[in-house]
């Protein structure tokens, strides 16, 4: 009997924990959105975040998009050749990159590179009393640490997504022209011809949403980090896992909206 009670108690504790985390995260997101429109805005911190999130992510995003575009061209050619639709490769690569793969890959790569770094940095600050020090120096940690990062990620991710889209299409172009026998002119014409403004806009909106998710979750996990190196490590892992899941889930919702 006691085994049954222990089992039920464990389920109850787990359920409470989940609700507590969801509640805390919701409260954190609401506080962040409200603080976005409050002063002071730490512009230097914002610029620093723009450089670290945007500029230093360019090689990762660029290479990922380039190779993915190339691989996508090969896969679509292989599939399309089964029903004589090889000519659709440029259009499908460009639409697929712009609507789906560009923003999602960009979001996931940034979650791994930037979200983890934000969680580790803020977690370390918490462990070494730097967050408390900020408060005693009359500085709101949310305003000083979270808002610049969230604002920067939300603004920079659409730009990175745009760069990723272009390089992904270029990857497809290189494979299409060098390996699959398309002429440059035909490939580019077809890649652009079927692409609509709504495709580009939906991809960029996704990028902004993913940027917000990555930075907010990174900051949240950092603030909730446990003590010691183990706590910071756990916060970092949680930040990547949670933001990746939320990116995939929100991508489905956004795709549904833009469908």
């Amino acid at each position: 009997m006691s085994l049954v009670f222990s089992f039920l108690a464990a389920i109850g504790r787990g359920t409470f924990h989940i609700f507590e985390e969801v509640g805390n995260l919701t409260f954190f997101i609401i506080s962040t959105i409200r603080s976005l429109f409050k002063s002071p805005f730490y512009f230097k911190e914002f610029l620093r975040s723009v450089v670290s999130i945007g500029y230093f992510s360019l090689p990762v995003i660029g290479l990922t998009a380039l190779f993915t575009g190339g691989a996508l061209a090969l896969q679509i050619y292989s599939g399309g050749s089964r029903f004589n639709s090889e000519s659709a490769v440029p259009a499908i690569v460009s639409i697929g990159m712009v609507r789906e793969l560009g923003p999602v890959l960009c979001g996931l790569m940034i979650a791994g590179r930037v979200g983890s770094a934000i969680a580790a940095e803020i977690g370390t600050m918490k462990v070494s009393d730097q967050l408390d020090a900020l408060v005693t120096l009359s500085t709101n940690p949310l305003q000083y640490l979270v808002i610049p990062r969230v604002a920067a990620a939300t603004l920079v991710l659409p730009i990175l997504t745009g760069v990723g889209d272009i390089l992904g299409i270029m990857g497809g172009f290189l494979v299409g022209t060098l390996k699959l026998g398309f002429s440059s002119q035909t490939y580019l014409n077809q890649a652009v011809q079927f692409l609509e403004t709504a495709d580009v806009v939906s991809g960029l909106v996704k990028g902004a949403v993913f940027g917000f998710i990555v930075a907010t979750i990174g900051c949240y996990c950092g603030f909730r980090s446990g003590m010691g190196a183990r706590g910071v490590g756990k916060a970092t892992t949680q930040s990547v896992a949670l933001s990746s899941i939320l990116i995939i889930a929100s991508n489905f919702i956004l795709t549904e909206i833009f469908f």
Partner: protein
């Protein structure tokens, strides 16, 4: 008689099953230098963080200037300086920007040049030359970080100072120097100070009044002279580092 600057009334605080503070009462008057001593895990730092509004008490009141206050104590925090146990310097900023952090926030009052000049003066004051100003905290030793933390605490010459284990991790000579420096700064600014410490030499040098925390409440209170002359009881055993065979005094 003026109102106490800080008053804790029946403050209780628990972390899970661990009841750290149990109806703690503590009063700090303007101009007093108070030390809070006690063994590890007795809640000294928790009491300090409650005063600063970094922790919410489970029950009880915090009174600032006689008025019941709820965190964040923004007005109060703008008047204080705080030295954290490990220095708590910001890794991403050079030492001088750490020291001048509060000054740089107030650009109407201080230009960047003025803030840097003050930061270098304060660094000199704590025995660090201006050559460390452009280094990053990771490039300093633990003791140097602590002194830089002290420079940050006194950067805008606050009237209220808090020190969390100011001499932990320092060698005996530095301990004596830092203790003397803290006493000097407190006297110079006629500041009110609260020091949390294990270091009895430091406490004797810094404090006018000593509170001994045990079992979640103040088990002994006295002036610095009474503290120097203590010859029996739990606090005597604590100060002398002897095993405690007595009951806590009422």
């Amino acid at each position: 008689m003026s109102k106490p600057l800080i008053q804790l009334q029946e403050i209780s605080k628990s972390f899970g099953e661990n009841h750290v503070l149990k109806k703690l009462d503590l009063t700090i008057n303007v101009g007093e230098s108070v030390a809070l001593i006690g063994g590890s895990g007795t809640g000294k730092s928790v009491a300090l963080k409650i005063i600063l509004g970094l922790y919410y008490p489970d029950s009880g009141n915090v009174l600032i200037n006689g008025e019941r206050s709820k965190p964040p104590f923004e007005g109060f925090l703008s008047q204080i300086g705080m030295l954290f146990q490990g220095g708590a310097l910001f890794d991403s900023l050079p030492v001088w920007k750490n020291v001048a952090f509060k000054l740089l926030r107030d650009r109407k009052k201080y230009s960047v040049g003025e803030a840097r000049k003050i930061a270098e003066e304060k660094l000199e004051r704590v025995g660090l030359g201006s050559e460390v100003a452009d280094l990053y905290p990771a490039e300093l030793s633990g003791g140097m970080q602590k002194r830089a933390g002290l420079a940050r605490a006194i950067a805008d010459s606050p009237k209220i100072l808090f020190f969390d284990e100011p001499t932990t991790g320092l060698d005996p000579i530095r301990t004596a120097n830092i203790s003397a420096l803290i006493r000097e700064i407190v006297d110079e600014n006629s500041a009110t100070a609260l020091t949390v410490s294990h270091d009895m030499t430091c406490v004797k040098q810094i404090a006018d009044k000593v509170h001994f925390l045990k079992g979640g409440y103040i088990a002994w209170s006295g002036t610095e002279t009474e503290f120097q002359n203590i010859s029996e009881g739990t606090i005597y055993h604590f100060v002398k580092g002897l095993p405690d065979t007595t009951e806590v005094e009422s």
